[in-house]
């Protein structure tokens, strides 16, 4: 069958939908894993493997769509709508940084982009928290969140790096 523009865009939409479903599944599974650290805002963020992959391999636009669909659906599925504001703020700041990084870094340097984006995610989250609670005291958490972000960001970044290396370049 010949490849028409219509067919291509349909294929792309299906791919995005599939990636969103994968990200959502990872998010929900990760939410079931208890963490030994009791600081709110710290988690592995494994579903961001998909986010990083989408921004670097597909396009920034599709990365944004997948991320925000996953955040919104994740809040509904996990029943924690109150976290929507935090993850939305963090997600927005981090994806902007990530898109900027995708312009200056190659696909072989995804492992580096991820921890930086993770750091800005936690920064954005804290800014939202500061606005919601109307206090700057929450920034006392920043050092802890920053170190956690770099560690978990490196991990998800390396995971995304392996995914990119193993997937055939068919897009």
């Amino acid at each position: 069958m010949a490849s028409t523009p219509q067919r291509d865009s349909l294929k792309r939409l299906t791919l995005c939908a599939l990636l969103t479903a994968i990200a959502l599944t990872i998010f929900m599974v990760e939410a079931q894993i208890p963490l030994p650290i009791a600081i709110p805002g710290i988690k592995l963020g494994l579903s961001n493997i998909i986010t990083v992959y989408a921004v670097f391999v597909l396009s920034p636009k599709e990365g944004v769509m997948i991320l925000f669909c996953r955040i919104f659906l994740g809040a509904i599925f996990s029943g924690q709508m109150s976290t929507l504001l935090y993850s939305g703020g963090g997600g927005l700041l981090s994806i902007l940084v990530l898109i900027g990084l995708s312009k200056i870094l190659t696909q072989k340097e995804i492992w580096l982009a991820s921890p930086i984006a993770a750091f800005f995610h936690n920064l954005g989250q804290l800014c939202v928290a500061a606005l919601v609670m109307d206090t700057v005291v929450v920034f006392a958490y920043l050092p802890y969140l920053a170190i956690a972000a770099v560690v978990s960001g490196l991990f998800t970044g390396l995971c995304a790096q392996f995914v990119v290396a193993r997937l055939p370049e068919t897009h």
Binding site: A140, P143, Y144
Partner: protein
């Protein structure tokens, strides 16, 4: 080149954070604050040579609460209120949860110290 700058940025973030964590934390000493009806009646540092110490607090409705302060912890050992919730709460060691005697409007809380009052506000 860009890569080096970004790696440097990350290392800087981690280094500053580590320094902030190590230097921060225990900057103000923990203090026991006793309030009756919202006004502070007594403040005692949680670590001093005059401890252990027992004080009687006169609350509302002729209430009498005996507060015992020891090194690093505080409790209400006796109260002439009907429910005895404050006595049954036992010792507290940080600012997470204050001891409250509702009938006498007496609050015994620890301010400062290691946990900084953020424990009650989570997303």
């Amino acid at each position: 080149m860009m890569k080096r700058i970004l790696v440097g940025f990350l290392m800087l973030v981690v280094a500053i954070s580590a320094v902030a964590i190590l230097l921060g934390g225990n900057d103000e000493p923990a203090t026991v604050r006793i309030t009756v009806g919202g006004t502070t009646v007594n403040e005692i540092p949680l670590s001093s040579s005059t401890l252990p110490k027992t004080i009687t607090v006169n609350g509302k409705d002729e209430g009498e609460n005996t507060v015992v302060i020891e090194e690093g912890r505080v409790s209400i050992s006796h109260a002439n209120c009907p429910d005895q919730i404050c006595v049954n709460q036992g010792w507290i060691t940080d600012s997470t949860l204050p001891i409250v005697c509702l009938p006498h409007q007496v609050i015994v809380e620890i301010v400062g110290g290691e946990s900084s009052g953020l424990d009650t506000a989570t997303g």
